[in-house]
């Protein structure tokens, strides 16, 4: 029998140790919350996406940038189904947050005059740069100094509720297996997005845990089928990344198996510097045409270019050296390149106060629906700051405090430790592998088609019904892996069902619905746990209330148009046919 550790009287409980969660915790303290507890299954500041960020922040500089243009670009990257009010707020807040982080000790790249410098990166506006791990080291130190209690190595497995109000969470310790009960007044979910533990080192601890616990507690999730990023692209056979932005910036080019520099055909102006979504989709089209493998060619880089890359990407360049791709400051081999697993963000639906559909539960960073919070560290910080502030305001309201429903803790404890009782069950690795084989192939979620996705849903259901219930764990480490496999299976089901529900091509291409339909589909898809099954429903985007408008028409998606112009596809009966 494992010990039960109960931490009571928490004002604001933050789940997740990245930048969004850390900012929420800092702002909760600033707002007057006396007991703020931040929990991470790894270590606050050393887990998730934030600490591996490639040194890039997208900040709006009020005196240099055009606000409306920046909103337009972000709204477009979300296929115009953005919550534009929140996007605008993030942009407006980002400059102040940047300066605050600078004051708090984050080491940004600066000019000789000591001003924070912006340099060109991918995207239209120049970017702010920071130095890798230092950002999260500084921010988590600030949180500790302000009195945030950080609890590490505890994985959360469920939310405590009273009626529909969230009043805490439970989890277990990865080292000793102790059961943790956190009783909180307000709770903030900041657990990031997920990439199904696929390619992309530094993100395999992001397993949609926040989505899963919120879904099970009855929260509305949204945005599973859309995102501003479809995926990233990485070296295919090594765990090296990220850094593509810098390689293509130095003149790295992509070659397909025929030796063609294919990006010239799809985006003659930007070529390899095209947006991530375009690159991922074009790679998938090339794969469909049998033109794989695809390589990044950097063999023409001069030694001074390689030395420059070593300055900005020391870790990635060390990795390339270790596997013999870089020798004596030259790339001596082509590097096979590939899209990573699809990003999944069935985020918690939020309003402008970062409240979820469950009272007492707040969300920030990539744990929020993608239409509300765009990918990236600046929006993680601004949304974290807001969620921390509003969560703290909630704790000051009367009548919002409650105790968990009797019996709930015991029930969640049994659920949490069940895999430890399964002596003859299935190892988490098997379940993960089975799931990855369904969701990662490019022609399921990167290049979509109804028939293929319906088959994939059936396979996910099969894993859900015939493998997940039998997940077994030998010890608390394996228990974590078991819960991760379970959570990812749920995320896959949500993402796949939402992708099927959206019968158009918007942020991702569908072969059976190649048109972008701004007459019918300026809608979000909301997902909720039903009595028996998952429930999905559309909700109109109130676009008329927003600054950026879009023409209400139905047009062939521009990438399908390009493919048609190139003679790769034709349209038959409103569907795409490959030539």
């Amino acid at each position: 029998m494992k010990r039960e550790v109960r931490i009571k009287d928490i004002d604001v409980l933050v789940i997740g140790g990245g930048l969004a969660g850390t900012y929420a915790a800092i702002k909760a303290k600033e707002g007057g919350a006396s007991k703020v507890v931040q929990v991470d299954k790894g270590h606050v500041g050393k887990s998730g996406n934030s600490c591996f960020g490639a040194g890039v922040m997208h900040v709006f500089f009020p005196e240099q940038d055009d606000l409306e243009d920046r909103i337009r670009r972000l709204a477009r990257s979300l296929g115009y189904i953005a919550q534009q009010d929140l996007i605008q707020e993030y942009l407006e807040d980002s400059f102040e947050i940047l300066n605050e982080m600078d004051t708090l000790g984050v080491d940004f790249v600066k000019t000789a005059e000591g001003e924070i410098e912006r340099r060109p990166g991918r995207g239209y506006y120049p970017i702010v740069m920071f130095r890798g791990f230092q950002l999260m080291d500084a921010m988590s130190r600030v949180a500790r100094k302000r009195g945030v209690e950080q609890v590490n190595k505890v994985m959360m497995t469920g939310l405590l509720t009273s009626d529909e109000r969230v009043v805490g969470a439970v989890g277990f310790n990865l080292l000793d297996g102790d059961f943790y009960v956190f009783e909180s007044h307000a709770t903030v979910v900041a657990t990031g997005s997920t990439w199904y533990k696929g390619l992309l080192p530094g993100q395999r601890d992001c397993t949609g845990d926040g989505y899963a616990i919120a879904y099970r507690a009855g929260a509305f999730l949204s945005g599973a089928e859309v995102n501003d990023q479809l995926t990233n692209l990485m070296p295919a056979r090594y765990d090296i990344g990220p850094g593509m932005n810098k390689y293509v910036g130095e003149g790295g080019i992509f070659l397909n198996s025929k030796g063609e520099r294919f990006m010239e055909h799809y985006n003659p102006r930007l070529k390899e510097r095209a947006g991530l979504r375009i690159l991922a989709t074009v790679f998938s089209i090339e794969a469909k045409r049998g033109n794989t493998p695809i390589y990044m060619d950097m063999t023409h880089f001069a030694p001074e270019q390689v030395r420059r890359l070593k300055e900005v990407l020391p870790l990635a360049m060390k990795m390339f050296e270790r596997v013999g791709i870089v020798e004596s400051d030259r790339f001596v081999k082509l590097v096979e390149w590939m899209p990573c697993a699809p990003v999944a963000r069935p985020g918690l639906a939020v309003n402008s106060r970062f409240e979820t559909s469950l009272p007492g539960l707040y969300v920030c960073g990539e744990a929020a629906a993608p239409q509300a919070v765009v990918t990236g560290l600046a929006s993680a910080a601004t949304s974290g700051a807001k969620a921390g502030k509003y969560a703290t305001e909630y704790t000051a309201q009367e009548g919002t405090r409650a105790s968990p429903v009797p019996g709930q803790v015991a029930e969640l404890r049994e659920y949490t430790f069940k895999p430890l009782q399964m002596k003859d069950g299935i190892e988490p690795d098997q379940v993960l592998l089975a799931l990855q084989e369904v969701v990662i192939p490019y022609n399921v979620l990167l290049l979509r088609d109804g028939e293929r996705m319906r088959a994939a849903v059936q396979e996910v259901e099969d894993i859900r019904d015939n493998q997940v219930p039998f997940l077994a764990a030998y010890d608390p480490h394996y228990l974590r892996m078991a819960h991760e496999a379970r959570n990812l299976t749920l995320v896959a089901e949500i993402q796949m069902r939402a992708a099927l529900f959206r019968t158009e091509s918007r942020t991702a291409l569908r072969e059976d619905y190649p048109y972008t339909d701004n007459k019918e589909w300026l809608q979000w898809i909301l997902v909720k746990r039903g009595d028996k099954n998952m429930e999905l429903k559309p909700e109109p985007v109130p676009i008329e209330k927003y600054p950026i408008q879009v023409q209400r028409s139905k047009t062939l998606h521009h990438l399908w148009q390009t493919a048609q112009n190139r003679g790769i596809v034709t349209l038959e009966g409103g569907k795409v046919k490959w030539v």
Binding site: G42, G202, R204, M319, V323, M338, D429, P441
Partner: protein
């Protein structure tokens, strides 16, 4: 192959690598006060342990530790 070596002559048992590993791969041998690689299959080759080890005792390789399912 992710984290491949923790040099027992250099390791001083400080435990930083164990605390900071995002994938919970490492453990401390409390009798010898040495870190060791316990759950290698879950290593994500992020190099955080190698980067943070104050003794320079850890060596990583950026190769997949388990079968990596890829886009094609």
């Amino acid at each position: 192959m992710g984290v491949r070596r923790i040099d027992v002559r250099l390791c001083n048992g400080c435990g930083i690598c164990i605390d900071h590993c995002p994938m919970d791969v490492l453990r401390l041998d409390h009798t010898r006060m040495k870190a060791y690689i316990k759950y290698i299959r879950d290593c994500q080759s992020c190099f955080l342990c190698e980067t943070e080890c104050p003794q320079g005792a850890i060596y990583c390789l950026p190769l997949h530790e388990r079968r990596m399912v890829t886009a094609w």
